[in-house]
Amino acid sequence: MSSVLATEAVSLSVRERMLVRELSMRVEPGQVWCVLGPNGAGKSTLLRALAGLREPDQGRVLLGDRDIRAYRPIELARLRGFLPQSIVDAFSLTVMEAVVAARHPRLPFWAWGDEDLEPAQRALRTFELESLAERDVTTLSGGERQRVNIAALFTQDVDVMLLDEPLSSLDLHHQMKTLHELLHTAAHDGKSVVYTVHDINLAFQHATHAVLLDGSGGALAGFKDEVITSEHLSAAFHHPIHGVTLDGERFFRAGRLNGRSP
């Protein structure tokens, strides 16, 4: 497959601090990866490196067997999409304009941009944004804005989708909806998905693979059952995290600090 995203012994450091040491992973079409780790462990940094927006300090990132640095930005934007943690709009624009703008990489240089609205309308329908299409993005609530940006990512229509905390500020229904759509598009359209998240249980339920960062260079990557275990989690988060099985499904709960519960 041409759109395999892989890292080869990638190391990432920020201000002399090693966040990720020699991580090798291989994201194949149809796979959904979650990236877990404590605050400041380098989840966003890893995601930006995977997106080709930040050069790794060592090692390299490959997209379809080609070094990601060898792509022109516009070529890259036709293959992989990236949802930043937050988008701050300098000027107001409508929801429809924000979503349609994501078609940019697909359009020829001289195109005006309103030639093909179908993908944008489909994404608005998927994320229940049709009634907001005319609204000014800067007047929406944080969760609505996040849905607009996720819809824009779907409109971009790329093989590799990278999302930095897509669930932040979404309500429960839209968290489940977003994860459902990500799993669906991976399973049915052969997309690959990598997202960072804080909720371990949601991640565990909605991923095929996982990366666990501990913030001091340690990085585990692989099948979620092998990576997300209570030992690994407790070590990475420096907090006791226990696994329980309910109705045949694995859950993780953090120990309380007052020492009373499990």
């Binding site: 997106a51 990236f82 988008i87 300098a90 429809m96 304009e97 703008a101 940019h104 609205l117 309308q121």
Partner: protein, 344 residues
């Protein structure tokens, strides 16, 4: 009978609607220029001006129209268009709605150059040259000092504003402002009036109308293809670069275009304030934020505003001419306040 707005076609700026808007504005522009040519101070009537405009006889009116009013009107149009376009670009560049063409200290540099030339008793051509070199030096200084904001390929994820760039510009502007005040204090009385006029915008010396209008056309043609990328840049550099935009290239390009446009405007008419700040804002409120539509609209609309203001400045206190910048602010501030309060 009411037709429900169909869900298939939400309101968006299509190419057709943009063209219609621009053509409509161009029509108003032609009317404004024509009116400014026909309306004059003193004893000239509209009918006499019309005769002078259309007849090819070599009457005094004919030469007033063709050698004074028309070139001045066209120069005013070019200057207004350049300043409004450059203001719009600067606002995108620094992601700040308070930016105007002079934010980055360009007008200060131009003022120092031009007033220096006036102090030295030099002629009009050298004053223009002084203004141009001052503006370009200021622009160069901003570029060298602010290259990290403009050119950095890998910026920290959280840095989404161009604070450094604004600060550099504001600092340069205050530095130049101080030098200008000293020059004004030191200037002999006979030069003072000319210097003050230059600083408030003076179109009476606009000799070559083709330069501003030609630059305006060129500038718009350079910026229009960048429209979609500028829209994406407004959503933040990180998401723009993820969508295939090279922020450093686009930002440098609009910095250069906006600076050159401002430099041409300043050398033609001195520092005409207000238009670069307020025309983009007013148009944003009326036609929205789509840069593909907005930038050409600013170029057309800015010209209209300056032509109208210049006509008023010529006739209202005839035979004394008022500085065009001041006239524009006096009319523009209440208009803008109205737009601001009314909300879209």
């Amino acid at each position: 009978m009411t037709t429900r707005p169909s869900a298939k076609a939400p309101r968006m700026a299509t190419f057709g609607s943009a063209i219609r808007l621009w053509l409509g504005m161009l029509l108003i522009a032609v009317i404004a220029v024509l009116a400014s040519v026909l309306i004059g101070g003193g004893d000239s009537t509209v009918a006499a001006s019309w005769q002078g405009l259309v007849s090819s006889m070599d009457t005094p009116m004919h030469s007033i129209i063709w050698e004074l009013r028309l070139p001045r009107s066209i120069a005013a149009y070019g200057v207004g268009g350049l300043l409004a376009m450059s203001g719009c670009l600067m606002q995108i560049l620094v992601r700040n709605p308070l930016a105007d063409p002079y934010t980055l200290g360009l007008s200060g540099g131009a003022s120092v150059g031009a007033l220096g030339a006036m102090l030295g008793g030099l002629g009009a051509v050298l004053i223009a040259a002084g203004a141009a070199s001052g503006a370009l030096l200021a622009c160069l200084a901003v570029f060298v000092l602010g290259h990290r904001d403009l050119l950095s390929r890998q910026r920290a994820a959280q840095r989404e504003d161009s604070t450094d760039l604004i600060l550099i510009g504001v600092m340069l502007a205050s530095g130049f402002g101080a030098i200008v005040s000293m020059m004004l204090v030191l200037a002999p009385d006979k030069n003072l009036r000319g210097m003050l006029f230059w600083m408030m915008g003076d179109l009476s010396g606009a000799a070559n109308p083709l330069l501003p209008v030609g630059s305006l056309l060129l500038g718009v043609l350079c910026v229009v293809p960048l429209g979609r990328q500028l829209n994406l840049l407004g959503r933040g550099e990180e998401s723009a670069s993820a969508l295939g935009v090279r922020p450093n290239v686009v930002k440098s390009a609009i910095f250069v275009i906006a600076s050159l446009a401002t430099a041409v405007a300043v050398t033609t008419a001195g520092t005409v304030g207000f238009v670069g700040l307020v025309v983009p804002h007013a148009l944003r409120r009326v036609i929205g934020n789509d840069q593909r539509v907005l930038i050409p609209a600013c170029a057309i609309g800015g010209g209209i505003v300056v032509v109208v203001a210049d006509t008023i400045s010529r006739i209202v206190a005839d035979p004394i001419q008022l500085p065009v910048g001041a006239v524009m602010a006096v009319i523009g501030v209440p208009t803008f306040m109205f737009l601001l309060v009314k909300r879209r």
